[in-house]
Symmetry: C2
């Protein structure tokens, strides 16, 4: 087929076996290549692609994993209907300098008598940790497993799942896992909605309302800059979300690293928001600029 | 000093920093050397030394870690009084072809806001897992951390802590940790008492009684060979232990891998025993030879 098309797509090497994946990465690293890793659950959108492009810009080779991890979904959640589209995902990665797509089976990651769980306390405690019990344990366990299978130099995560990035960073530090974590900016639709594979679930009406999350974060940033207290900001965020029909799980302004209440207003803060529209749960967040203490 | 003594002891290189430890191991492995690792809590006895000698026989270089891991002790247990004798331990390893002694500080392994725990279900559930809640989580977490700091080819554990070897093997398989686990025979005093750093706690009277554990295991083996059922064996083991003044935690004949009740008598079985003499808790076990089903 060579020469029959004007441009040959770069086709990534698809690997399902964790041992084989690991040995290919180690061979590349032994040859002095810097490896970037983008772990995903597939259903790739521009947010994922931005992570891949960042990895390609900073590394010699890029590995992308596609694995819908059952253990980070609660029984009532959307594991069964979570979008699976491996071929479309592979197509989305063509020409993006991805060397490997690691797509293990569920049994490849979780043999029948799998019995190990990694629990992270600290930044995992509140918010998603409260609302989705077991979620971060599922995330931490699979991310550790993936980091063993894909022993890259650096892994890329999106800031959209801010709490997840804190949980992963804490686990990596605590266990001394030899990988850097790079957190990349959230990619948004033109109207501000954060990219998410779950946006596909939204009805047209709910899709219209979904901008309320980003709007509430913009409101938080304005109020924060004006010197308002977290409690007042959280109240106004919640009011705005409700006025747009969002069933609010939380709207919070907290310490950006510990996710605990802000000890003082000079601390780096983050605004976090989560809520449901129809049956679809959406989350978003925004870093708030450091401001002087008001005391 | 060279030349002043007839024989220079081989002095291991003592390292406290996990990152430095890791990089030395990786350099040695990149040079093609096979690395054996013996994780210990120090207070080294002939059992530990047998692991070191096995590692030295099978590997090019040997690393021994000495770290009394606080998280595998419950608050009421003997963490505070557990014997610490780093200099004597280093002396015990002289001339044994140990290249590195990894002796991190507690803070080097557990920074102040350490928040990660590895839980293993399955083989960790019963026996020590029931009696010492949190113990195997502490073991699994520190062993994972140590395996990252000491990325050896193979790690050596003593069969005396049989359940621990099962927990470690399960975690290694589940997370795909790139290390082999070799389990080595229990080393015993001439009268049969399994070597343990905790034997030093025993009063002379209790030291005399402590042979009851090994005796109960020998009894189990005789009864097993004669075709007795696990329940009858367990009853006689318990009677023997009590007759010698042992406060019995458990005396069990179970599946040697799952530690669940034996599905049938053709399964590989293990006899496990644990009890207290004075304030000292002792454990021991014995593999039982496979026998034909009695059905």
């Amino acid at each position: 087929m060579a020469g029959t098309t004007g441009k040959r797509p770069t086709t990534a090497h698809m690997i399902a076996d964790p041992e084989r994946m690991r040995s290919e990465i180690l061979v590349a690293r032994a040859a002095g290549r810097r490896i970037g890793f983008v772990p995903t659950m597939g259903a790739l959108h521009s947010g994922h692609v931005s992570l891949v492009d960042r990895a390609a810009a900073e590394c010699d080779d890029v590995a992308v994993s596609i694995f819908v991890n059952p253990t980070q979904f609660a029984p009532h959640e959307d594991y069964g209907r979570y979008p699976r589209m491996l071929e479309a995902d592979a197509t989305a990665l063509e020409d993006r300098r991805v060397r490997w797509i690691f797509a293990p089976s569920a049994e490849g990651i979780y043999p029948p008598d799998f019995a190990t769980r990694i629990m992270v306390d600290g930044p995992a405690r509140r918010f998603e940790g409260e609302i989705r019990p077991g979620h971060f344990s599922g995330v931490a366990t699979v991310v550790c497993r993936l980091f063993i299978a894909v022993p890259a130099d650096v892994a890329y995560f999106g800031a959209k799942d801010w709490q997840q990035t804190l949980v992963v960073k804490r686990m990596v530090r605590d266990l001394g896992l030899p990988i850097e974590i790079t957190v990349c900016p959230t990619i948004r639709e033109p109207d501000g909605l954060a990219m998410s594979s779950r946006n596909a679930y939204l009805s047209p009406t709910d899709r219209g309302r979904a901008t309320a999350l980003a709007e509430s974060l913009a409101l938080a940033e304005r109020m924060w800059a004006a010197g308002d207290e977290p409690a007042a900001i959280e109240r106004d965020m919640t009011d705005h979300l409700r006025s747009r029909g969002v069933d609010v799980d939380y709207a919070a302004v907290v310490d950006g690293e510990s996710l605990e209440p802000l000890a003082n207003t000079a601390t780096a803060a983050v605004a976090l928001v989560a809520g449901r529209l129809g049956g679809t749960r959406l989350i978003d967040n925004r870093q708030l600029p450091t401001r002087r203490g008001t005391g």
